[in-house]
C-alpha cells in the first residue's frame, strides 16, 4: 500500500485571500508580529500499487484534478505503508 | 450495573431487580438523561412483562421519552395556549414534521422553524450546518420543494470582554462559525436564505441559540404524510449511511451544557450538503411518480423515533431488521444504529411493487437505499438482529412517552421607569445606528445566496443597488405561472420578554404582523420556536407558560394559527439561563407580487406618514439599553389596533398608494427613518410635533408597537389619509435626515455619516 501526500499551495505572487484574512485575524488576536500566512491543502491518497509506479500515479492524479497550474504549485511525496 | 451478554453487541440489563440507586447508575452509565421517576416507570413496565430489557430496549425508551422527542414538559402548556387556533386554510397543523397551509386552489405551502442550540454551542460550524440540513428534511418529507431558508441567531455581543467559563467559546468565534456553517450548507443545497435575525444579549454567553426555518411549496395532491396506516408497506432508508456521529443528540439537547460538553462532540453530526442535494431531487421525483406512501426524516432521535412515530401515528406495528441498515463503520451495536442521528437520511414507506422504481431513481441520483423492514397489523414494534428478536414492545409505551405538569411561578416586576436628563439627540441617534442589534447585518446576509432558484422577488436587503437597507420581510414567488407570493420574516424580542414574557410575546406577534404588512402581505400562519432555560426551575417554567399564553392570546385575536413549532429547553449553563426567547417564523400571502412594497425611500417630494401611536414605554428598548437606564414599563399591544391598522395599510397598498413602508421597532422612529433613507440614498425632513406632547427622546426612540412609516406620493396623500389612520410627519428629500419638533431642531445628519456608522459597526467582527 502506498501513501501519496500531495501538498497544493499557491504560486509565488498569487494573492491568497484566506492567508491574508487569517493574518489579519491573528494580528487582531494580539499576534502583531505575524506578517504572513500561507494556506496549503494537503491530500493523503492511499493507493494499492507498487512503489515504482507511485510517482507516476501521483503526478497523474495531481494533473487530472488536484492542481490548476495557473495558480498552484505542488509537492508530491510517495511513502510505502 | 448488572448486564448479561446475549449475543454479539447485545446485552440484557438487570433492570427488574435494580434498587433506586442502581436505576440511577444505569441511567448515568448508559447516558439516558432520565429522571428516577422515569426509570421506575420503565422498571415497572418490564416487571409487568416478567423479563429484563435489552440495552436496545432501554435506549429506545430513553430516546422516546427525552424532552426533545416527547415534549414532556411543554405539551400540556402548548395544548392549552398554542394549539387549536382556528383557520380555514391550515391543512396539517402540529401533527407531522412541518405545518401545511393552503396557498391557492392547487398548491399548499409547508414550513417550520426548529432549534439547533446545544450542538452549535459546542461545534458552531457543524452544528449550524446540521440545523439547516435537518429543517430542510422536515419540509421535504411533506413532499414539498424547499424554496426558502431563515436563520435567527442569538449570541453574546461580539466584543464581549468578561472572562469566559471553561469550555465556553467566545461569541465572535461562535458567530463566525455559525454563519459559515449556514452559508456553506444552505448555498450548496441551492435553497435561498432570505430572512433571519442576528441578536446580541449578554445572557447568551454560555448558551447561544441557532434556530433555522424552511419554507416549501407542494401541489396539494402530492402532500406526503409522516405516517403509515396499512400493513405490509416496506420501510426503506434512503440517503446517508448510519454512523456513530450524533449518538444521543436528543439527550444532549435536553441536558445542561457544562465544561464536559466539549467532549461530547460526538453528539454533533456532520452534514453533507452534496449528499442532500441529490436526495432532494430523488425524493421530489419519487413523489411526483406517486411511489411514496409515507415519509419522515431522520432527525433528533434517529431511526428509533422515526419508525415509532410514523407507525404509531398510523396505528400499525412494525418489524425492523437492523442488520439491513447501511453503516458508515463496522461493529456498531444495534442500540447505536437505532439511536444514531447521522445526517442526510430519510425513511420512506413504499409499497412492494414500487421498490424497483425507487431503486432506479436511486441509481440515477447516486443515492443509497436499503429496505429495513415493514409495517405489521398490530401495536408492537419488533426489532431483529442477525435473525434474533432483541426488542419487542408496544409502540404506545415507547413513543407516546411521558408528560409532566411542571410547577411554575410567575415573576412580576415592579413598575418603574427611570427618566433620563435630556440627551444630545444626534449623539444618541448615531450610537443607536451602530449598536449591534441595529447595525447593518449586510456582512452576514450577503454570505448567503438569497437569489438561487430565481424566486426571490423582494430581497432581504432592499433599496438602490449598492445602498440597500434591511427589509422587513422577503417575498418569494413560488410558482412560475402565478403572481401570488409568500412573504417570510422572523422576529424575536428577548429584551422585552426578559422583563415581561407575556407582553414580550404579544409584541413579537405584533412585530411579525408589522413586518409582513410592510411588504404588502396578509399575515397568514406562524411557526413558533420556543427557546427557554431549565424547565425544572419554577421561574423558567413560569416564563414559558407566560410566553405561550401571550402567543396564544395574540394569535387567537388576530386569527393566525401556529401550524408547526419546536421547544428547546435546558438552554442554561453555569447557572445562567438564557432570556426567554420566542422566535416566530411568520408567513404572509402577497396576492399580487407586482404590488409588493419595499422599505427604502423612493422619491424626493413624497410625503412621510407615521401610522400608530407612540407611547412612553421604554422597557426593553435599545435606547434605554445603551444609556444603561432602567425601565420595567414594556410596550403593550392593543390587538384591535394591530388588526385595524394592518388592514388599512394593506388596503392602501392594494390600491398602489404606498411607495415604501417600514415598521418601527428597534431604535424607534428615528432608526426606522434612517434605514429608509439609507436604502433609498435620499434624506428626509421630519417634524414630530404631530406626535403630541411628549419629550423628544420618547418620540424618537420609543419602540411602541403597531407602528409603521409610509411614504406616499403627494397626489395620493388625500386618498391614503382616508384609508389609513395616520399622521403626516415629513417629506422625502435632500442628503440628510433632519428632524425637528415644531420650532426646535433635534438633529441633522448626513446620509454618509449615518451609513458609515450603521454599516461598519459589525464589520470588524464578521467582515
Amino acid at each position: 500500500m502506498l501513501k501519496l501526500v500531495v501538498v497544493v499551495k499557491f504560486k509565488e505572487g498569487i494573492d491568497d485571500p484566506e492567508g491574508k484574512s487569517i493574518t489579519h485575524s491573528l494580528n487582531l488576536l494580539g499576534f502583531e508580529n505575524v506578517k504572513r500566512v500561507n494556506v496549503a491543502k494537503q491530500y493523503e491518497i492511499f493507493v494499492d500499487a507498487d512503489i515504482s509506479k507511485g510517482r507516476e500515479i501521483g503526478e497523474k492524479i495531481v494533473k487530472k484534478l488536484l492542481v490548476n497550474p495557473v495558480i498552484h504549485d505542488y509537492e508530491l511525496r510517495v511513502e510505502e505503508i | 450495573m448488572n448486564l448479561k451478554k446475549i449475543m454479539d453487541e447485545v446485552y440484557e440489563i438487570d433492570l427488574v431487580n435494580a434498587s433506586d440507586e442502581e436505576l440511577m447508575e444505569i441511567n448515568k452509565e448508559m447516558g439516558l438523561a432520565l429522571s428516577l421517576e422515569e426509570m421506575k416507570k420503565m422498571q415497572a413496565f418490564f416487571r409487568s412483562l416478567g423479563r429484563n430489557p435489552t440495552d436496545l430496549e432501554i435506549h429506545a425508551i430513553a430516546q422516546g421519552w427525552s424532552e426533545h422527542c416527547s415534549y414532556k414538559s411543554s405539551k400540556p402548556v402548548l395544548r392549552k395556549y398554542i394549539f387549536g387556533i382556528e383557520s380555514k386554510e391550515a391543512m396539517i397543523v402540529m401533527q407531522d414534521d412541518a405545518g401545511v397551509v393552503e396557498f391557492d386552489e392547487n398548491y399548499a405551502y409547508v414550513f417550520k422553524i426548529e432549534s439547533h442550540n446545544h450542538p452549535s454551542a459546542v461545534e458552531p460550524y457543524g452544528g449550524a450546518a446540521t440545523g439547516v440540513g435537518g429543517i430542510i428534511r422536515d419540509v421535504l418529507n411533506m413532499g414539498a420543494k424547499p424554496i426558502a431558508l431563515v436563520d435567527p441567531l442569538f449570541f453574546a455581543p461580539p466584543d464581549y470582554g468578561e472572562k469566559l467559563n471553561p469550555g465556553i467559546k467566545h461569541p465572535r468565534y461562535l458567530l463566525n462559525g455559525v454563519v459559515a456553517g449556514i452559508r456553506d450548507y444552505g448555498n450548496r443545497v441551492g435553497i435561498p436564505t432570505v430572512a433571519g435575525i442576528t441578536y446580541f444579549h449578554e445572557d447568551y454567553v454560555n448558551n447561544i441559540l441557532v434556530n433555522a426555518g424552511c419554507l416549501g411549496i407542494v401541489r396539494k395532491d402530492k402532500i406526503v404524510r409522516s405516517r403509515v396506516d396499512k400493513e405490509g408497506v416496506k420501510l426503506v432508508m434512503v440517503g446517508g449511511r448510519t454512523g456513530r456521529d450524533g449518538i444521543h443528540g436528543v439527550n444532549f439537547a435536553s441536558k445542561i451544557l457544562d465544561e464536559k460538553s466539549e467532549e461530547e462532540k460526538q453528539a454533533v453530526q456532520l452534514g453533507n450538503p452534496i449528499l442532500k442535494e441529490p436526495l432532494i431531487h430523488l425524493v421530489l421525483e419519487a413523489n411526483e411518480m406517486g411511489i411514496i406512501y409515507g415519509m419522515k426524516d431522520l432527525g433528533g432521535g434517529g431511526l428509533g423515533s422515526v419508525v415509532g412515530e410514523m407507525c404509531h401515528a398510523g396505528g400499525v406495528g412494525a418489524e425492523i431488521h437492523l442488520d439491513q441498515v447501511l453503516l458508515k463503520e463496522k461493529d456498531m451495536a444495534p442500540w447505536e444504529i437505532w439511536v444514531s442521528e447521522s445526517q442526510e437520511r430519510m425513511l420512506l414507506a413504499v409499497e412492494e411493487e414500487n421498490i424497483d422504481k425507487l431503486q432506479d431513481l436511486c441509481k440515477k441520483w447516486d443515492v443509497e437505499m436499503s429496505v429495513i423492514g415493514e409495517t405489521k397489523n398490530d401495536e408492537n414494534l419488533r426489532i431483529f438482529w442477525k435473525g434474533r428478536k432483541i426488542l419487542d414492545m408496544p409502540l404506545e409505551f415507547v413513543t407516546a412517552g411521558v408528560e409532566y405538569e411542571r410547577k411554575y411561578k410567575t415573576k412580576r416586576m415592579k413598575k418603574m421607569q427611570e427618566i433620563l436628563p435630556e440627551p444630545k439627540y444626534r449623539e444618541v441617534f448615531l450610537r443607536l445606528l451602530s449598536s449591534y442589534n441595529i447595525a447593518s447585518k449586510e456582512w452576514i446576509i450577503r454570505q448567503y445566496d438569497h437569489e438561487v432558484q430565481g424566486r426571490t422577488v423582494v430581497k432581504p436587503m432592499q433599496g438602490l443597488i449598492g445602498y440597500e437597507t434591511h427589509g422587513d420581510a422577503a417575498v418569494i414567488k413560488p410558482l412560475h405561472h402565478s403572481w401570488k407570493g409568500l412573504a417570510v420574516t422572523t422576529v424575536a424580542n428577548p429584551h422585552i420578554a426578559k422583563i415581561n414574557p407575556y407582553y414580550g410575546s404579544l409584541y413579537t406577534v405584533d412585530e411579525a404582523v408589522r413586518n409582513l404588512v410592510s411588504v404588502g402581505a396578509k399575515p397568514h400562519a406562524f411557526s413558533d420556536g420556543l427557546n427557554f432555560g431549565n424547565p425544572e426551575e419554577e421561574e423558567i417554567m413560569g416564563e414559558f407558560v407566560e410566553s405561550c399564553k401571550g402567543l396564544g392570546d395574540a394569535a387567537r385575536a388576530l386569527g393566525i394559527p401556529y401550524v408547526s413549532g419546536n421547544v428547546s429547553f435546558y438552554n442554561e449553563a453555569f447557572g445562567k439561563n438564557i432570556p426567554p426567547t420566542v422566535v416566530l417564523m411568520a408567513i404572509g400571502i402577497v396576492n399580487d407580487i407586482r404590488k409588493a412594497v419595499t422599505a427604502d425611500f423612493k422619491r424626493e417630494g413624497n410625503t412621510i406618514y407615521l401610522v400608530g401611536e407612540t407611547k412612553e414605554e421604554m422597557g426593553g428598548s435599545e435606547y434605554y439599553r445603551i444609556m444603561d437606564a432602567k425601565s420595567t414599563v414594556v410596550p403593550k399591544v392593543d390587538l384591535e389596533e394591530t388588526k385595524n391598522r394592518s388592514e388599512e395599510i394593506l388596503k392602501a397598498m392594494d390600491e398602489s398608494l404606498v411607495e415604501s413602508c417600514h415598521d418601527v421597532s428597534n431604535g424607534g422612529l428615528a432608526v426606522a427613518l434612517a434605514e429608509m433613507a439609507l436604502g433609498g440614498s435620499i434624506g428626509a425632513e421630519i417634524d414630530l410635533s404631530s406626535l403630541g406632547a411628549m419629550r423628544d427622546d420618547f418620540k424618537l426612540f420609543s419602540e411602541s408597537p403597531t407602528r409603521w412609516v409610509c411614504e406616499v406620493r403627494e397626489e395620493n396623500s388625500e386618498e391614503f389619509e382616508e384609508i389609513v389612520k395616520s399622521k403626516r410627519i415629513g417629506v422625502v428629500g435632500g442628503e440628510t435626515l433632519k428632524i425637528r419638533d415644531g420650532e426646535r431642531w433635534l438633529f441633522n445628519v448626513h446620509l454618509n455619516i449615518m451609513r458609515e456608522r450603521w454599516k461598519n459597526a459589525l464589520k470588524e467582527y464578521i467582515g
Binding site: I14, D15, D16, P17, E18, K20, S21, K63, K64, L65, L66, N68, P69, V70, I71 | R183, N187, R188, V189, G190, P273, I274, L275, E277, P278, K363, K364, W365, D366, R446, Q447, Y448, D449, H450, E451, V452, Q453, G454, T456, V457, K459, M461, Q462, L464, I465, G466, E468, K477, H480, I593, R594, A596, V597, T598, K602
Partner: protein, 256 residues
C-alpha cells in the same frame, strides 16, 4: 434547438436555467452526468453548464465536474466545440469551462487550464447585484444593451491568468462583459465583487462559441427578479437579453 443542461450532484441552478431557455424559444433538456455516455452530446445543438456547487466545490470550484466530463466525453466535447456549436457556462459552469481548458481558449482548446477563477479577494461568498458593460459583440451578447445589471453569488470568481494570456484575451477581444461602477467608471470593491483582473466578468473563446460568465443571467430573466423593479420599469430582465441574443443569432439566423 436542443440544449443539454448538464447536471451532477451539487449543480443547483438548473431549474431557473431551464425556464430561461424554454421561455427564449429553445428546447432544453436535463442531462445528468451519471447518464451521460459517449456519443450522446451529438444529439444536442448546445451545451449549458449551470451554476451551483458541483461536487461541493471540493478540491477547487468546478474541478471535479471538469475532470469527470473529461474522463467521460472529452473527445465528444472537443468535437462539439470545434464544430462551432455553442457552449455556455454560468458561475460554477464558467469555472468548469475554465478547468476544462475550453476557456479562455485563446488558441481554441487547451489541454491544460490557461486561467483560474480563484477565491474572491474578500475571501468570502458574496451574493449581490453588479453592473456590467459589454465589450464585445458575440452570439451571446449581440443584442444585449451596453450596460446591464445581474446578480453574482460565488466565493471563487476572481479571474486570473498570466500576463501573456491576458494580453492575448484582450488583443482578440475575448472579454464580453466587465464589471463597472454605477457611473460607468472602473470599479472598486464591491462593484468588482471578486477582484478579477481587468474587471473581467465574462469571456468568449477565440472561436466565439464558448462563453463563460460569472454573474447569473438566468436569475435576472424576468423583470421582477431585479432588486430595483419598483424603481426601474423593465419589460424583461437584463439576463433575458443574453438568451435572446442566442435565439436571434442562432435560431432566427437559421430561418432567414
Amino acid at each position: 434547438m436542443k440544449v443539454a443542461i448538464l447536471q451532477m450532484e451539487g449543480t443547483n441552478c438548473e431549474e431557473e436555467s431551464y425556464i430561461a431557455f424554454k421561455e427564449s424559444g429553445f428546447e432544453p433538456e436535463y442531462l445528468h452526468i451519471n447518464l451521460l455516455k459517449k456519443g450522446m452530446l451529438e444529439n444536442y445543438d448546445m451545451i449549458f453548464v449551470p451554476g451551483g456547487f458541483s461536487s461541493g466545490d471540493y478540491v477547487r470550484a468546478g474541478a471535479i465536474f471538469a475532470a469527470r466530463l473529461k474522463a467521460k466525453v472529452w473527445k465528444d466535447l472537443k468535437r462539439f466545440v470545434e464544430e462551432g456549436k455553442p457552449v455556455m457556462g454560468v458561475c460554477n459552469g464558467f469555472q468548469v469551462l475554465i478547468e476544462l481548458g475550453l476557456l479562455p481558449g485563446t488558441d481554441g482548446i487547451s489541454e491544460e487550464p490557461e486561467a483560474a477563477l480563484a477565491t474572491n479577494e474578500s475571501n468570502r461568498f458574496e451574493c449581490r447585484w453588479v453592473y456590467l458593460k459589454k465589450f464585445s459583440d458575440t452570439i451571446f451578447s449581440k443584442h444585449v444593451g451596453d450596460k446591464i445589471t445581474l446578480p453574482v453569488a460565488h466565493a471563487e470568481g476572481r479571474f486570473l491568468a498570466d500576463k501573456k494570456t491576458i494580453e492575448k484575451i484582450e488583443e482578440q477581444n475575448q472579454v464580453v462583459f466587465r464589471y463597472i461602477a454605477p457611473d460607468g467608471s472602473r470599479p472598486d470593491y464591491p462593484w468588482n465583487p471578486n477582484g478579477s483582473v481587468n474587471d473581467i466578468a465574462a469571456l468568449v473563446n477565440s472561436y466565439g462559441n464558448v462563453f463563460g460568465i460569472m454573474p447569473h443571467p438566468e436569475r435576472a430573466f424576468f423583470w421582477y427578479q431585479h432588486p430595483d423593479w419598483n424603481r426601474v420599469k423593465r419589460e424583461r430582465g437584463d439576463g433575458w437579453q443574453i438568451f435572446n441574443s442566442l435565439f436571434r443569432e442562432i435560431i432566427e439566423a437559421k430561418n432567414r
